[in-house]
Amino acid sequence: MITIIWKDLESRINSPEFIKFWGVSLLILFLVFVITVPGYQRVINSFIPKLFVIMAISEFFLFLAFTATVTMGNSLASGEKTMRDLAIGSKFSVFSIIFGKLIAFFLHLAVLFASILPFNLLALNLGIDGNPVRFLYILMVVDLSLACWGYFVSTFREKIFPIILFWIGIVVLLVFTARLPYPWNLINPLTLIYYSEESGLVYYLFIGLSGLALTFLRVIYLRRISSDRRTQ
């Protein structure tokens, strides 16, 4: 498992494509910040935005793009092996493959979070108060549970349809769930971030566990097929 974590992280950190991707992401964050940060104001027209919430939602979208890109098998790191490659072509156990990938994803997420700290700290000091710890918690839980589904998608040989389905799922999650009555609207991650509410994360426990279970089933199936082929 440690080898998988090590190799995954190494390939992504060393990948120039990934550095470019994250550089562009930070540039987008920079633009959002520059547009929304309060500037010269008079008392009569004074307005301080909810800067932390604006930045948190922007960062959530960037991390969502990161999660989808990294987990679904179309990783920007050329040296990285997908879950399908590892299930078919390696001797690692199913548990090691899945949890190795998930832990590598989590560590990479944590490392990337450090790069948005200056934005968040400035937003806390210059905007109306926010709750950074709760935001981090929501971000980690939502991204981890979506990563489980992303890894499930990466186990298919045919890429385009599962990817389309995955993105449709995310759009449904972000747009249509906001119109649901309480408490079902708490499934919407933007609602959770806006209200700094963590009770809706229980839905993500279910989403994550179901994605993880399907990934396990799929990897075990792939492993069985590959061993059958080798035997033949």
């Binding site: 550095i19 550089g23 008392v43 790069s115 200056p118």
Partner: protein, 490 residues
Amino acid sequence: MKFRSYLILLLLLLLPSTVYPQVGVDIDIEFGFGGTVKVGRWNPITITVKTYSIPFKGRVEIEVKEGSVILGNITSVTLKSEVNLPAYSKGEYFFLVPLSDVRHPVKVSVFSQDGRLLKISNYEIKELDMRLPIMCIIDNWTLPYRGVGTRILSLESDRLLDKPVFILDPFDVVSLSPLSLYRLKGLLDRWTVLGGKVVTDPSVDIHRGREDTYPGEIDISPLVSDLIKEEDVPLPSKVLISLFLFLYVVILFVSLYYFKGHFLKRIALYLIICLLFSYLAFSLTSRVKEFSDVGIQINLLKIDKNLPYGRFYSGIALFSPYNKTVKLSYNPRNFVFWIGRREKGIAQTTIITGRDENLMEINLGPNKLGLLRGWGILDFDIRVYRDGDIIKVINNSHYILRDVYLLKSKGYLPLGDIKIGSNEFREKGLGLSRFDREDIKGKILSWFIDNGIILLGDKNYISGWIYTIPADIRFESSNIKSITLCLLEI
């Protein structure tokens, strides 16, 4: 034998009270002077706490509400005083509250140190008789002619010794002997500047009352409320923040893209850059909210011709774009401050009372304008003598008056500054200037003229400006502009 049995029984009954003396505290609340209060004035509330076998630590609180539920402009002010008494002792806690809004009861509460509510009383002030003028007779002096419909109150002079001047505010007239006058001279002189009448001759007709202090006739709140709207909010430069973040993104990208080494070293370099810029971002902006408030204090000081005091009115506007508590401390012996009635949406105002200093904490909600009003007496000894076209001013105060004008009905004569000591001005060679209503001094002057506070048609005034916050008033805040207009009628 029978008598002895009764005696033993009596001793046995008395034993518990000796062995187990009374535990706890007695709390006595006196509203006004024995329940006598006057609407439209500052009235004292005295809370007496008496301890027995154990010491008492806690606090007393008074909550005063004003405003209308329908208009949504209810303001609440809480006055607090810490109580720390040893066993078998008595402490007196003195508060001054304005009474003008009879719709809300005054709530008095006593709390123990751990926050337990020991006693609570709600005083329905609408039930009190408080419209008629009050005449105070000190040390049982002869009752003067008082007209019809005046309430009489008798007090000992000891009760007023060493007390704030506003303790006399409920009264319209004080009648006392020359000996008592001598004892209370400092207090009564200052009260006279507030409009009070002191009578030592019982044959004088003094039936006319005096004007109300609260809310009173001079309210500078509308002026400060207008002036603060033109002020800039102290925020850090958007350009500098943008440059800082741009530099961060560029340095991070370039160092990661061009650094050739082991991936762990790359992560270490990345984390060092991120944490360094995070530290800089936080430390450079951590005090933005603390210094975010803007304040304007406009004071009017009407200097008394005959006494070394000036009657002080203050209007303060405070604003913060963030949720911030602004603190104001003042000497309670000479000043009182309260929330302005035009205020809306202030979360809470607390006044922590002390013997030599009251600390007012105004919790400003985000983007809310807080208005305060102040009344008081300032030690200010300036005398003016006019001899033909020569005006002689002797300034024995601690202040230099800047940009002094001789105000006339069609304009003003600029006299320069009045320094500490003797000053002389010749009126003849000076040209009459027109009021400029554009700069801040012109705006303030014209507002006072337009609102009938300066009556130029009838009187001539010497006006001067003090640009520092008067002594005995202190803001624990960052951006307060204070301008005091001193007016001396000649």
